[in-house]
Subunit: 474 residues, 2 copies
């Protein structure tokens, strides 16, 4: 089918869908969740075949996906997310309204939670936008099955037929979707190259649109001295698990481990190396990611300033990868910015800095990140206050004494960060605030109650929190 | 002075300024207001010489400027604007933090309220950003005087010396400011050409930054039949005033007046034309705007499908302009998109549509606008529901039975709209929500109270509204 026809259908469906009351939209999201749960076995089996991800992980991801749908359903049932603001003199009232049809690109590394019925689709439908999903080519049957769950929910809930549409294709299809005049926004999780290309297409349009691309992050972790001295073995276990989780195929995978040259940091490296050695080899999502991982890792290891720990045996089975740990110095990485780039997979680079000045210089030299973590005791933090200060400028989420993998779907979550982690650090793609990507504020001046949306009527029939003459009330 | 040195200073000042507690930042904004008031006479006199704007208007604009500063001071004193969100299990807490130094381009048409100490500067300082102002070349002495007021406030409040800096120059200077790596955001009010150029510079950066440019709007007004029949004379007076206010040099000037061919609409045009004829000629802000206005108007009048009402005498004094009204048909403007473009000055184009279908087609064909208005009775609105539906998709502010000029500085205001009205319809440049342009959300995971900003501490020492475990509390 032609992209033009698909976007026409999305626009026509939008004219109806945007006016469907929030409680019905919420029920629709819940029905999608129920239809997914009803197809759980087939979805997990198919995704297992297409992605090499283990059953336990896929079952967990199904729960995460339906939980996300439920959280957005709850959000719009409650209703305060529209940020209603009312000034009575003069009578000016504002709320958030959907922008129009949006295009969602499925991600390969989360075949459910960031894909066809994932967080981008759920948040857009909650906002009142219609959605065209471009299924990820690495899991086409999974994407199609998931779309069937959505279609069943559309019929059962009586939503417009083209509220969600599903297309497959190559990057020409992707470009055609982004540049179509009816497209109002784009959600993407993938490579830096992919995100930059989509952003360029969007910027070239006669009417530019926002592209929310989550692209690249090495998620730097700083290990402070006392923390290392008191619990290096525990930290090594924690990070071995985090580095190898899902074969390292998470946006929040810790790729850069930074500390001061010291016996304790050396001990940590050895413990981490040993723990990684014990991890079973894992198959990656698809051959493209597998070969990109090997190439990226080779590029890092080609540097004379980088050594491999603990052993140079990298891959004994062409279809699986073993995790690896590389080691370098602060001076080397400062001199070679390529070492700061993401290697997507179960690999991390340890950087031993010669002093605090070098460590802070390294942190300040990093580009924007999704997360950054610090392993520290209270004593460490009182002596290394600048570390957290720099980290706050670097990322959307700062973690104390925890690994960055594991992104909670909650109201406070920021899964986003300064460029090139994402294209727009002001928004998150995980958590209920992700709904804000698909809306804009509209203000009604001198409108009587009868002509206003319920959210803005004087009597507050929706019972939502509103800022009325600068006072929060409900 | 070199731009690089200026941005270095802005970045260094930012490291201090961002940590200054909100109550002190609020006092600083109030002190700027007091210093402006203390210099009021000199400011008004100088601006009068540089802009041709009358005393009454300039005195009013001084009040608006100090009111804006006070509103942002009040906002950060109250504190809830940071959108604090706390989830306790796991412990994840989010708030808005400033992005870094920002660059503000002064606007020519508001020498105080949208210029050196205008809304962009006030909102950025409130957010915790430092500011580099590029003064508008059309009022250099006014801008310098205003900067002296800010400098006095910096000293009196003990703020970092380079919290606000002032530069002058041509577009090379502007570009150098936008592309400098330390610049984190840009505020601009001006031409479409200028806004597009700044956006392109920002997009080409290694790290793209947001440019909030308010660029172009014809602020379409729809006159529905019964409203015209019952009060065409009153509407003609209202719009004659709105079209000629400030010599038409407002972003919200009503440039496109749309109705159905009818005796009542013809009567309205005649009444409006007569009212405009009575308006005294006005000098425009500067020779560049004056000649651009004459050229733009000539371009519209060159179309064979456009006639001038009431009389072809356009300019009797080379230094002043008379308001004018042009008339065309729905078919003509649909066939000639150039007629939909902004003519910045005291001029409007009346469009008589042959039927409802044509009128709706015209509305749907328009690009993004700051505002759109509808003049209607209750009866009109019940019969013309689609008009408001389309208007909601078109602009940031929809006005019922009022002229678009006069932008209230309040919490509910949206002074922004779909491209090309602005570069980003999700934000406003007027009203307290303008502060959001200079911040991004940052989330702290597993941080103890002692290491958190006051806004996120469990005991809520700032007493602000927060979303705690999905409940709004204070």
């Amino acid at each position: 089918m032609q992209i033009d026809q698909i976007m026409q259908q999305a626009a026509t469906a939008y004219e109806q869908y945007k006016n469907i009351p929030p409680l019905q939209r919420a029920a629709f999201l819940e029905t999608i969740g129920a239809e997914i749960t009803a197809r759980r076995e087939a979805l997990v089996k198919t995704a297992g075949e297409e992605t090499n991800l283990p059953m336990a992980r896929l079952n967990g991801e199904i729960v995460r996906t339906t939980t996300q749908l439920q959280k957005f359903a709850d959000l719009i049932k409650e209703g305060s997310w529209v940020e209603a603001v009312i000034d009575t003199t003069p009578n000016i009232r504002r709320m958030l309204l959907p922008v129009g049809p949006v295009v969602v690109f499925g991600a390969s590394n989360f075949p459910f939670a960031f894909s066809t019925a994932g967080g981008d689709t759920a948040s857009a439908l909650a906002a009142g936008a219609t959605v065209v999903v471009k299924g990820h080519p690495a899991h086409p049957r999974t994407s199609q099955l998931m779309f069937e769950a959505i279609q069943a929910a559309i019929i059962q809930s009586g939503m417009p037929a083209y509220t969600v549409q599903h297309v497959t294709g190559d990057y020409h299809t992707g470009k055609a979707l982004v540049v179509h005049p009816y497209t109002s926004g784009v959600g993407f999780t993938g490579s830096l190259q992919g995100g930059k290309a989509l952003s360029a297409y969007a910027a070239e349009r006669e009417t530019p649109i926002p592209v929310f691309a989550e692209m690249s992050s090495v998620n730097p972790v700083v290990f402070l001295p006392q923390a290392l001295e008191t619990r290096s073995a525990e930290l090594a276990e924690m990070f071995a698990t985090s580095i190898t989780l899902g074969a390292g195929q998470f946006c929040t995978n810790p790729g850069l481990l930074i500390g001061l040259e010291s016996p304790a940091f050396t001990a940590f490296q050895q413990q981490l190396g040993t723990a990684l050695e014990k991890t079973a080899p894992q198959k990656m999502l698809h051959p493209g990611i597998h070969s990109a991982f090997l190439e990226g890792r080779s590029r890092v290891l080609a540097s004379q300033e980088v050594t491999l720990s603990p052993a140079p045996v990298l891959d004994f089975d062409a279809s699986a990868v073993r995790p690896s740990l590389a080691i370098t110095s602060g001076a080397a990485i400062l001199a070679n910015p390529a070492l700061k780039e993401e290697v997507f997979g179960p690999h991390a680079l340890v950087v031993a800095c010669k002093d605090k000045t070098e460590l802070l210089a390294l942190l300040r030299s990093l580009k924007g990140q999704l997360t950054t973590s610090v392993m520290a005791t209270e004593e460490d933090l009182s002596q290394w206050k600048e570390v957290v200060d720099v980290q706050v400028t670097l990322a959307g989420r700062i973690i104390l004494n925890g690994a960055p993998t594991g992104v909670e779907v909650c109201a406070a979550m920021v899964h986003g960060g300064p460029y090139p982690a994402t294209t727009d650090a002001r928004f998150t793609s995980v958590g209920t605030a992700a709904i804000r990507r698909w809306v804009r504020p509209v203000c009604f001046q001198q409108f009587p109650d009868t002509l206003l949306p319920d959210e803005l009527k004087t009597a507050n029939p929706r019972g939502i929190w509103r800022l009325v003459d600068n006072q929060f009330t409900r």
